[in-house]
Protein backbone atom coordinates (compact mmCIF):
# COMPACT_ATOMS: atom_id res chain seq x y z
CA UNK A 1 0.00 0.00 0.00
CA UNK A 2 1.00 3.60 -0.54
CA UNK A 3 0.69 6.03 2.36
CA UNK A 4 2.71 8.87 0.79
CA UNK A 5 0.93 9.81 -2.39
CA UNK A 6 2.23 12.67 -4.52
CA UNK A 7 -0.46 15.02 -3.15
CA UNK A 8 0.71 14.34 0.42
CA UNK A 9 4.30 15.01 -0.56
CA UNK A 10 3.29 18.23 -2.36
CA UNK A 11 1.50 19.51 0.74
CA UNK A 12 4.58 18.75 2.82
CA UNK A 13 6.76 20.66 0.38
CA UNK A 14 4.33 23.62 0.47
CA UNK A 15 4.64 23.79 4.26
CA UNK A 16 8.43 23.75 4.05
CA UNK A 17 8.32 26.59 1.52
CA UNK A 18 5.93 28.56 3.76
CA UNK A 19 8.39 28.15 6.61
CA UNK A 20 11.10 29.61 4.38
CA UNK A 21 8.87 32.52 3.36
CA UNK A 22 8.28 33.59 6.97
CA UNK A 23 12.05 33.89 7.41
CA UNK A 24 12.12 36.56 4.69
CA UNK A 25 10.16 38.81 7.05
CA UNK A 26 12.89 38.75 9.67
CA UNK A 27 15.34 41.66 9.97
CA UNK A 28 18.37 41.44 7.73
CA UNK A 29 21.05 42.07 10.27
CA UNK A 30 20.94 40.90 13.81
CA UNK A 31 23.77 41.97 16.05
CA UNK A 32 24.00 41.02 19.66
CA UNK A 33 26.47 42.82 21.85
CA UNK A 34 26.98 39.89 24.18
CA UNK A 35 29.00 37.97 21.62
CA UNK A 36 31.53 40.66 20.78
CA UNK A 37 35.00 41.07 22.23
CA UNK A 38 36.54 44.48 21.74
CA UNK A 39 40.32 44.84 21.62
CA UNK A 40 41.37 48.42 22.33
CA UNK A 41 44.54 50.15 21.27
CA UNK A 42 45.95 53.44 20.06
CA UNK A 43 47.16 54.81 16.76
CA UNK A 44 50.53 53.34 15.73
CA UNK A 45 50.08 50.26 17.89
CA UNK A 46 49.98 46.84 16.23
CA UNK A 47 46.80 45.08 17.32
CA UNK A 48 46.13 41.36 17.15
CA UNK A 49 43.01 40.53 15.17
CA UNK A 50 42.63 36.78 15.41
CA UNK A 51 46.04 35.72 14.11
CA UNK A 52 46.15 38.71 11.76
CA UNK A 53 47.41 42.14 12.76
CA UNK A 54 46.22 45.67 12.11
CA UNK A 55 48.02 48.97 12.62
CA UNK A 56 46.58 52.41 11.99
CA UNK A 57 49.70 54.11 10.73
CA UNK A 58 48.51 57.63 10.07
CA UNK A 59 45.61 59.97 10.79
CA UNK A 60 45.21 63.45 9.32
CA UNK A 61 42.54 66.12 9.22
CA UNK A 62 42.24 67.41 5.64
CA UNK A 63 40.05 70.03 3.97
CA UNK A 64 39.71 68.28 0.60
CA UNK A 65 40.91 65.08 -1.02
CA UNK A 66 41.42 63.31 -4.30
CA UNK A 67 40.33 59.66 -4.60
CA UNK A 68 43.43 58.91 -6.69
CA UNK A 69 46.12 60.85 -8.50
CA UNK A 70 44.60 60.49 -11.98
CA UNK A 71 41.27 61.83 -10.75
CA UNK A 72 41.28 65.60 -11.16
CA UNK A 73 38.25 66.13 -8.94
CA UNK A 74 38.97 67.49 -5.48
CA UNK A 75 36.20 66.48 -3.11
CA UNK A 76 35.08 69.30 -0.84
CA UNK A 77 33.09 69.26 2.39
CA UNK A 78 31.08 71.54 4.62
CA UNK A 79 32.66 69.74 7.57
CA UNK A 80 36.15 68.27 7.63
CA UNK A 81 37.69 65.06 6.31
CA UNK A 82 39.65 62.58 8.37
CA UNK A 83 42.11 60.46 6.40
CA UNK A 84 43.18 57.14 7.94
CA UNK A 85 45.95 54.90 6.64
CA UNK A 86 46.37 51.31 7.79
CA UNK A 87 48.67 48.35 7.51
CA UNK A 88 47.11 44.88 7.70
CA UNK A 89 49.13 41.69 8.11
CA UNK A 90 47.22 38.54 7.33
CA UNK A 91 47.66 35.44 9.48
CA UNK A 92 46.72 31.89 8.59
CA UNK A 93 43.09 32.04 9.64
CA UNK A 94 40.43 33.78 7.59
CA UNK A 95 39.83 37.19 9.20
CA UNK A 96 36.37 37.34 7.62
CA UNK A 97 34.72 40.49 6.42
CA UNK A 98 34.37 43.69 8.38
CA UNK A 99 33.08 47.22 8.24
CA UNK A 100 34.79 50.31 9.61
CA UNK A 101 33.53 53.48 11.22
CA UNK A 102 34.69 56.38 13.36
CA UNK A 103 33.08 57.10 16.70
CA UNK A 104 33.24 60.32 18.68
CA UNK A 105 32.43 61.15 22.30
CA UNK A 106 29.39 63.19 21.25
CA UNK A 107 27.76 60.03 19.93
CA UNK A 108 28.36 60.55 16.23
CA UNK A 109 29.20 57.57 14.05
CA UNK A 110 30.95 58.37 10.76
CA UNK A 111 31.10 56.10 7.73
CA UNK A 112 33.61 56.27 4.85
CA UNK A 113 32.74 58.74 2.07
CA UNK A 114 31.05 57.65 -1.14
CA UNK A 115 33.99 58.47 -3.40
CA UNK A 116 36.09 55.77 -1.77
CA UNK A 117 35.18 52.31 -2.95
CA UNK A 118 35.14 49.78 -0.16
CA UNK A 119 34.38 50.49 3.46
CA UNK A 120 36.31 47.67 5.07
CA UNK A 121 39.88 46.75 5.90
CA UNK A 122 40.94 44.31 3.20
CA UNK A 123 43.19 41.55 4.40
CA UNK A 124 45.40 40.01 1.68
CA UNK A 125 46.21 36.33 1.21
CA UNK A 126 47.96 34.55 4.12
CA UNK A 127 51.60 35.55 4.46
CA UNK A 128 51.07 38.96 2.87
CA UNK A 129 50.58 42.42 4.25
CA UNK A 130 48.60 45.26 2.76
CA UNK A 131 48.32 48.99 3.21
CA UNK A 132 45.24 51.03 2.44
CA UNK A 133 43.38 54.17 3.36
CA UNK A 134 39.95 55.53 4.18
CA UNK A 135 38.49 59.00 4.17
CA UNK A 136 35.67 59.92 6.51
CA UNK A 137 33.61 63.09 6.35
CA UNK A 138 33.07 64.31 9.90
CA UNK A 139 31.31 67.07 11.79
CA UNK A 140 34.03 69.40 13.23
CA UNK A 141 31.82 70.00 16.28
CA UNK A 142 32.03 66.34 17.30
CA UNK A 143 35.53 64.93 16.93
CA UNK A 144 36.67 64.74 20.57
CA UNK A 145 37.61 61.20 21.52
CA UNK A 146 37.64 60.08 17.90
CA UNK A 147 38.03 56.30 17.69
CA UNK A 148 38.49 54.05 14.69
CA UNK A 149 36.21 51.05 15.07
CA UNK A 150 36.44 47.83 13.07
CA UNK A 151 33.36 45.68 13.33
CA UNK A 152 33.46 42.12 12.16
CA UNK A 153 30.46 41.13 10.04
CA UNK A 154 28.65 38.22 11.63
CA UNK A 155 26.03 36.03 10.13
CA UNK A 156 25.76 33.55 12.95
CA UNK A 157 25.84 34.08 16.68
CA UNK A 158 29.45 33.21 17.29
CA UNK A 159 32.06 35.13 19.24
CA UNK A 160 33.38 37.97 17.09
CA UNK A 161 36.32 40.26 17.72
CA UNK A 162 36.10 44.00 17.12
CA UNK A 163 38.90 46.55 17.19
CA UNK A 164 38.67 49.97 18.77
CA UNK A 165 41.62 52.26 18.06
CA UNK A 166 42.03 55.60 19.79
CA UNK A 167 43.03 58.31 17.31
CA UNK A 168 44.48 60.69 19.90
CA UNK A 169 42.00 63.57 19.94
CA UNK A 170 41.61 63.77 23.72
CA UNK A 171 40.09 67.23 24.09
CA UNK A 172 38.15 69.88 22.23
CA UNK A 173 41.17 72.18 22.29
CA UNK A 174 43.38 69.63 20.58
CA UNK A 175 40.60 68.84 18.11
CA UNK A 176 40.29 72.53 17.24
CA UNK A 177 44.04 72.85 16.80
CA UNK A 178 44.13 69.80 14.52
CA UNK A 179 41.25 71.15 12.43
CA UNK A 180 42.87 74.59 12.14
CA UNK A 181 46.05 72.92 11.03
CA UNK A 182 44.32 70.62 8.57
CA UNK A 183 46.10 70.12 5.27
CA UNK A 184 44.38 71.67 2.25
CA UNK A 185 44.67 68.65 0.00
CA UNK A 186 45.14 64.94 0.41
CA UNK A 187 45.65 62.34 -2.28
CA UNK A 188 44.56 58.86 -1.33
CA UNK A 189 47.50 56.45 -1.60
CA UNK A 190 47.17 53.33 -3.74
CA UNK A 191 46.79 50.03 -1.94
CA UNK A 192 50.08 48.16 -1.77
CA UNK A 193 50.72 44.51 -1.01
CA UNK A 194 54.01 43.02 0.20
CA UNK A 195 55.24 39.81 1.73
CA UNK A 196 54.77 39.91 5.50
CA UNK A 197 57.95 39.72 7.56
Amino acid sequence: MKLYRPATVVIGVIFVLLGGLTRLGEPEQVFDKQDRVVTSGTIGEELEYGDSKLTITRMRFVKSFQADESDDKMVQTKGIFVAIEYDAVRGGKDPGTNSVMLRADGGSVYEPVTEVIGDSVSFPEPGFAQTGAFVFEVNPADVTGLTFYLKRTQFFNSLAQDLSIDLAVPSEEIAQRSIDGAADEYVMPDETTRVAE
Binding site: M1, L3, A7, E26, P27, Q76, E111, E115, E137, N139
Partner: protein, 208 residues
Protein backbone atom coordinates in the same frame (compact mmCIF):
# COMPACT_ATOMS: atom_id res chain seq x y z
CA UNK B 1 4.36 -14.01 5.96
CA UNK B 2 1.78 -11.27 6.16
CA UNK B 3 -0.97 -12.12 8.57
CA UNK B 4 -4.61 -11.72 7.67
CA UNK B 5 -4.88 -8.89 10.22
CA UNK B 6 -2.20 -6.93 8.41
CA UNK B 7 -3.94 -7.40 5.10
CA UNK B 8 -7.28 -6.25 6.54
CA UNK B 9 -5.60 -3.25 8.21
CA UNK B 10 -4.01 -2.30 4.93
CA UNK B 11 -7.34 -2.61 3.12
CA UNK B 12 -9.10 -0.41 5.71
CA UNK B 13 -6.33 2.19 5.55
CA UNK B 14 -6.55 2.18 1.79
CA UNK B 15 -10.31 2.75 1.91
CA UNK B 16 -10.03 5.57 4.50
CA UNK B 17 -7.45 7.38 2.44
CA UNK B 18 -9.46 6.96 -0.73
CA UNK B 19 -12.83 7.89 0.74
CA UNK B 20 -12.74 11.68 0.22
CA UNK B 21 -9.74 11.83 -1.99
CA UNK B 22 -11.43 13.47 -4.94
CA UNK B 23 -13.07 16.17 -2.81
CA UNK B 24 -9.77 17.04 -1.16
CA UNK B 25 -7.96 17.17 -4.46
CA UNK B 26 -10.65 19.44 -5.94
CA UNK B 27 -10.53 21.72 -2.86
CA UNK B 28 -6.76 21.94 -3.11
CA UNK B 29 -6.91 22.65 -6.84
CA UNK B 30 -9.45 25.43 -6.25
CA UNK B 31 -7.15 27.08 -3.68
CA UNK B 32 -4.18 26.87 -6.03
CA UNK B 33 -6.19 28.23 -8.98
CA UNK B 34 -7.52 31.09 -6.82
CA UNK B 35 -4.01 31.95 -5.67
CA UNK B 36 -2.72 31.97 -9.24
CA UNK B 37 -5.66 34.10 -10.45
CA UNK B 38 -5.14 36.66 -7.64
CA UNK B 39 -1.42 36.70 -8.28
CA UNK B 40 -1.86 37.21 -12.04
CA UNK B 41 -4.44 39.96 -11.61
CA UNK B 42 -2.09 42.05 -9.50
CA UNK B 43 -2.53 40.85 -5.95
CA UNK B 44 -4.81 41.64 -3.12
CA UNK B 45 -4.59 45.39 -2.91
CA UNK B 46 -6.68 47.54 -0.74
CA UNK B 47 -7.11 50.92 -2.37
CA UNK B 48 -7.40 53.68 0.16
CA UNK B 49 -7.61 57.35 -0.54
CA UNK B 50 -4.58 59.47 0.18
CA UNK B 51 -4.12 59.62 3.93
CA UNK B 52 -1.04 61.88 4.05
CA UNK B 53 -0.90 65.63 3.44
CA UNK B 54 -0.17 66.96 -0.05
CA UNK B 55 2.29 69.87 -0.07
CA UNK B 56 3.49 72.16 -2.84
CA UNK B 57 7.16 72.86 -3.54
CA UNK B 58 9.28 74.61 -2.42
CA UNK B 59 8.76 72.88 0.89
CA UNK B 60 10.81 71.15 3.57
CA UNK B 61 9.70 67.75 4.85
CA UNK B 62 11.14 65.83 7.78
CA UNK B 63 10.85 62.11 7.27
CA UNK B 64 12.62 59.56 9.43
CA UNK B 65 16.31 60.32 9.57
CA UNK B 66 16.31 62.80 6.66
CA UNK B 67 15.12 66.31 6.04
CA UNK B 68 14.18 66.90 2.39
CA UNK B 69 13.95 70.44 1.00
CA UNK B 70 12.28 70.12 -2.40
CA UNK B 71 13.08 72.81 -4.96
CA UNK B 72 12.28 71.81 -8.54
CA UNK B 73 11.76 69.00 -11.03
CA UNK B 74 12.85 68.50 -14.61
CA UNK B 75 11.79 66.02 -17.30
CA UNK B 76 14.82 65.23 -19.43
CA UNK B 77 14.38 63.63 -22.84
CA UNK B 78 17.26 61.83 -24.45
CA UNK B 79 16.61 61.46 -28.20
CA UNK B 80 17.08 58.19 -30.01
CA UNK B 81 20.66 57.69 -31.02
CA UNK B 82 22.03 55.44 -33.72
CA UNK B 83 22.69 52.65 -31.23
CA UNK B 84 20.54 53.67 -28.29
CA UNK B 85 16.85 53.96 -27.60
CA UNK B 86 15.11 57.20 -26.72
CA UNK B 87 14.84 57.60 -22.96
CA UNK B 88 13.06 59.94 -20.61
CA UNK B 89 13.93 60.55 -17.00
CA UNK B 90 12.57 62.75 -14.28
CA UNK B 91 15.05 64.53 -12.05
CA UNK B 92 13.94 66.06 -8.79
CA UNK B 93 16.23 68.60 -7.14
CA UNK B 94 16.29 68.74 -3.38
CA UNK B 95 18.42 69.54 -0.35
CA UNK B 96 18.99 66.58 1.95
CA UNK B 97 20.14 66.70 5.55
CA UNK B 98 20.84 63.88 7.98
CA UNK B 99 18.74 64.50 11.12
CA UNK B 100 19.26 61.11 12.76
CA UNK B 101 19.19 62.18 16.43
CA UNK B 102 18.83 58.58 17.52
CA UNK B 103 21.98 57.02 16.12
CA UNK B 104 23.84 60.13 14.83
CA UNK B 105 25.24 57.93 12.11
CA UNK B 106 26.39 58.81 8.61
CA UNK B 107 24.20 57.15 6.03
CA UNK B 108 23.10 57.25 2.40
CA UNK B 109 19.51 57.73 1.26
CA UNK B 110 17.97 54.61 -0.20
CA UNK B 111 15.99 55.04 -3.40
CA UNK B 112 12.73 53.73 -2.00
CA UNK B 113 12.32 56.75 0.27
CA UNK B 114 11.22 58.91 -2.67
CA UNK B 115 8.52 57.59 -4.99
CA UNK B 116 7.00 59.12 -8.08
CA UNK B 117 3.23 58.88 -7.72
CA UNK B 118 2.00 57.78 -11.13
CA UNK B 119 -1.69 57.68 -10.30
CA UNK B 120 -4.39 55.69 -12.04
CA UNK B 121 -3.94 52.77 -9.68
CA UNK B 122 -0.42 52.07 -10.93
CA UNK B 123 2.49 51.31 -8.65
CA UNK B 124 4.69 54.30 -7.77
CA UNK B 125 8.19 54.45 -9.27
CA UNK B 126 11.15 54.40 -6.85
CA UNK B 127 13.96 56.91 -7.24
CA UNK B 128 17.53 55.74 -7.78
CA UNK B 129 18.73 57.35 -4.55
CA UNK B 130 20.40 60.68 -3.97
CA UNK B 131 23.12 62.05 -6.25
CA UNK B 132 25.14 64.87 -4.67
CA UNK B 133 28.41 66.32 -6.01
CA UNK B 134 28.05 63.82 -8.91
CA UNK B 135 28.14 60.90 -6.51
CA UNK B 136 25.25 58.46 -6.40
CA UNK B 137 24.63 57.03 -2.95
CA UNK B 138 26.15 60.05 -1.24
CA UNK B 139 26.84 59.52 2.46
CA UNK B 140 25.17 62.20 4.59
CA UNK B 141 26.90 63.11 7.85
CA UNK B 142 24.82 63.87 10.92
CA UNK B 143 25.45 67.40 12.17
CA UNK B 144 26.54 68.91 8.86
CA UNK B 145 24.36 71.33 6.83
CA UNK B 146 22.18 70.03 4.00
CA UNK B 147 23.62 69.10 0.59
CA UNK B 148 21.94 69.90 -2.71
CA UNK B 149 21.18 66.71 -4.54
CA UNK B 150 19.07 65.21 -7.27
CA UNK B 151 17.01 62.04 -7.42
CA UNK B 152 16.35 60.30 -10.71
CA UNK B 153 13.20 58.40 -11.70
CA UNK B 154 13.05 56.15 -14.78
CA UNK B 155 9.79 57.05 -16.52
CA UNK B 156 8.18 55.85 -19.77
CA UNK B 157 9.53 57.52 -22.94
CA UNK B 158 6.32 59.45 -23.58
CA UNK B 159 6.03 60.67 -19.97
CA UNK B 160 4.70 64.18 -19.81
CA UNK B 161 3.32 66.18 -16.89
CA UNK B 162 3.02 69.84 -15.92
CA UNK B 163 3.26 68.80 -12.31
CA UNK B 164 4.62 65.68 -10.67
CA UNK B 165 3.85 64.24 -7.27
CA UNK B 166 6.65 62.75 -5.21
CA UNK B 167 5.73 60.53 -2.29
CA UNK B 168 8.06 60.92 0.69
CA UNK B 169 8.62 57.85 2.86
CA UNK B 170 9.99 58.03 6.37
CA UNK B 171 11.65 55.26 8.32
CA UNK B 172 10.66 54.51 11.90
CA UNK B 173 13.15 53.98 14.71
CA UNK B 174 11.85 50.87 16.34
CA UNK B 175 12.71 47.35 17.43
CA UNK B 176 11.73 44.28 15.45
CA UNK B 177 8.34 42.84 16.26
CA UNK B 178 8.33 40.72 19.37
CA UNK B 179 6.90 37.82 17.40
CA UNK B 180 10.13 37.17 15.54
CA UNK B 181 11.94 37.60 18.84
CA UNK B 182 15.12 38.54 17.04
CA UNK B 183 16.34 41.49 19.06
CA UNK B 184 15.21 44.28 21.37
CA UNK B 185 17.61 46.74 19.77
CA UNK B 186 15.94 49.53 17.87
CA UNK B 187 16.90 50.26 14.28
CA UNK B 188 15.72 52.38 11.38
CA UNK B 189 13.23 50.59 9.15
CA UNK B 190 9.58 50.10 8.31
CA UNK B 191 9.07 52.93 5.84
CA UNK B 192 5.71 54.65 5.99
CA UNK B 193 4.29 57.41 3.84
CA UNK B 194 4.86 60.86 5.35
CA UNK B 195 3.61 63.26 2.69
CA UNK B 196 3.24 63.92 -1.02
CA UNK B 197 5.04 66.88 -2.56
CA UNK B 198 3.82 68.52 -5.77
CA UNK B 199 6.48 70.03 -8.01
CA UNK B 200 6.01 71.95 -11.26
CA UNK B 201 8.19 70.54 -14.04
CA UNK B 202 10.23 71.96 -16.89
CA UNK B 203 11.09 69.92 -19.95
CA UNK B 204 14.57 69.69 -21.36
CA UNK B 205 15.83 67.79 -24.39
CA UNK B 206 19.40 66.59 -24.28
CA UNK B 207 21.70 67.25 -27.20
CA UNK B 208 23.05 64.19 -28.90
Amino acid sequence: MESLDDVIDAMIADRVIHRHRRKWLIALAVVVVLAVVIWLTGGWKEHKGRSVPTLTAPVTVEAGRFEFGFTSAKIIRKPKGEYSKAETRLEVYLDIKNIDDEEQTSTYMSGGLLKLVVGGGEDPIDSNGATCHDELGYVFVYGLPSESCSAKFEVPVDFDAKEVEIGVMGEQYDAASELTGATDDKYWGAETAISVVRLPTTIETEEK
